[in-house]
């Protein structure tokens, strides 16, 4: 399957806007689950407003949240896909800039030193583009995540040591949720990276934070720890928006990597309640949009 770069550009543009407007079904179901279990009247009212906002965004064809985030594109290339890799990255970047001009969207991206905003949602190394490979024949997938800054600003890494054990991971996650309070727009998806190198650990935390709700860590020990921590953080009482209540997190998600005998790294990256993402699957049959 030969990929036309024009299709990639168009898809990258469409995905950015779709992600900003329509929340994935698993996140909507997560809201219903939290709302049904919430015991605090304020928590119930806060969740009800969030749920109402999802409907207003759909009814008015508007963005869910004003934060257009840091645009992240994750690409998976299957066997039999013929694509110019460097061209693909350029096309994604062009699509991202076109979404910003043509919708228009707020460009939230600035140079880190001069703070200059090019008004394109692009800059050095942004949009963030990750390219990986899959086993899906004749299939190219693109996932778009507009990562909100309120939650991104609450990102944490601890290079714990083996003597601190798994307890270091448990304690760190609880303390990060406490430290973040209402700043991350809870209820959040608490993404936890465990193991790897420092950079891989943080990348795993992001992958965990943007994983669909209802999915589990592929490693059984990781999945068990996810369940324990998911229950634990919702005992803290931080609640929706940090205003008190049960619903502090939709879930704690964990992604693992092997690590060194001397290391025990743990990272936390959170996703706000507007846990937006969109996906396009390009096959010989055409382009299908989903989540």
């Amino acid at each position: 399957m030969k990929i036309r770069l024009h299709d990639i550009e168009e898809t990258a543009k469409v995905l950015y806007v779709r992600a900003l407007k329509s929340l994935p079904p698993d996140v909507k179901a997560g809201f219903d689950r939290l709302a049904a279990a919430e015991t605090s009247p304020r928590g119930q009212a806060t969740l009800a407003t969030m749920i109402r906002n999802i409907a207003v965004a759909e009814d008015t064809d508007n963005l869910l949240c004003q934060d257009t985030g840091v645009p992240i594109y994750n690409v998976w290339i299957g066997p039999g896909v013929d694509v110019d890799g460097a061209g693909l990255k350029r096309a994604i970047r062009n699509g991202c800039a076109r979404a910003t001009h043509e919708h228009p969207l707020r460009s939230s991206i600035v140079h880190p030193l001069t703070r200059r905003n090019e008004q394109t949602s692009c800059g050095i190394e942004v949009p963030v583009i990750h390219v990986d490979f899959s086993d899906k024949a004749e299939t190219l997938e693109i996932e778009m995540v507009p990562k909100g800054s309120g939650s991104e600003n609450n990102s944490f890494l601890k290079m714990a040591v083996p003597a601190e054990g798994v307890d270091a991971i448990r304690t760190f996650v609880v303390d990060c949720v406490l430290a973040a309070g209402g700043k991350t727009c809870p209820p959040t998806i608490v993404g936890v990276g465990v193991g790897g190198t420092s950079d891989l650990c943080v990348a795993l935390a992001k992958r965990a934070a943007t994983r669909p709700l209802g999915t589990a860590c592929a490693d059984p020990d990781g999945a068990k720890l996810e369940r324990e921590l998911s229950s634990a953080v919702n005992q803290l009482g931080v609640g929706p928006q940090g205003l008190g209540g049960d619903a502090t997190a939709f879930a704690v998600h964990i992604e693992l990597a092997a690590t060194h005998i001397t290391m025990n790294p743990v990272a936390v990256n959170m996703q706000c309640h507007s846990a937006r993402r969109a996906r396009a699957t390009i096959t010989p049959a055409g382009i299908a949009y989903g989540y």
Partner: protein, 206 residues
Amino acid sequence: MAHHDFTTPVTEVQVRDLVVNDTVTLQGTLYGIRDATQIHMFDRGRRTRFDLAGHAVIHTAPNVKTVTKSAEHPAGYAPICVGTTTSDRMERFTRPLMRDCGVRVIIGKGGLRDESLAAFGELGGVYLAIIGGTAALETTWIEAIEDVDLDDLNPESLWRFRVRDFGPLLVAMDSHGGSLYDTVRDAAAARRAQVLRSLGVTPRGG
């Protein structure tokens, strides 16, 4: 837990009447302000031609569309999506915003800290919590972008919105030393030990 309907600007007496857990709905003028706006105003000496005395500001940087100036869009901008950002980053600007500009009401999400709470008490101010991430809803409360200043900082310009039935917003920090964020944070910190025990975390001495 009284509800108040305010048309801006407001007086010190009106603001001091508010206590945590009250709710407020705003009518009239609302100013949008953000990190860069305040860095330029308070660190770099930029002045605004707007008179913010007695007014409410919201921590925002909206999505807007450039349009031809008209009665409906006097500033040449149409609002697309106007929401709220995390307030905590702008903590150190609360006092100058109140002292130098006379601002009485700050609207945001996630709360401010002790120094802001002290400024609210000393100068007569209040923090109103909006539900973050509900910008589509919030946008329906914005009637127009009336004017804009410091627009070279776009989208972090100083925006003047005309609002209608903006709220209800929750009084989360008042001028009497009350902070809902402190209450929730202290209660959560008190639960930490129990939560760690439930996870089987073994306390280790140093």
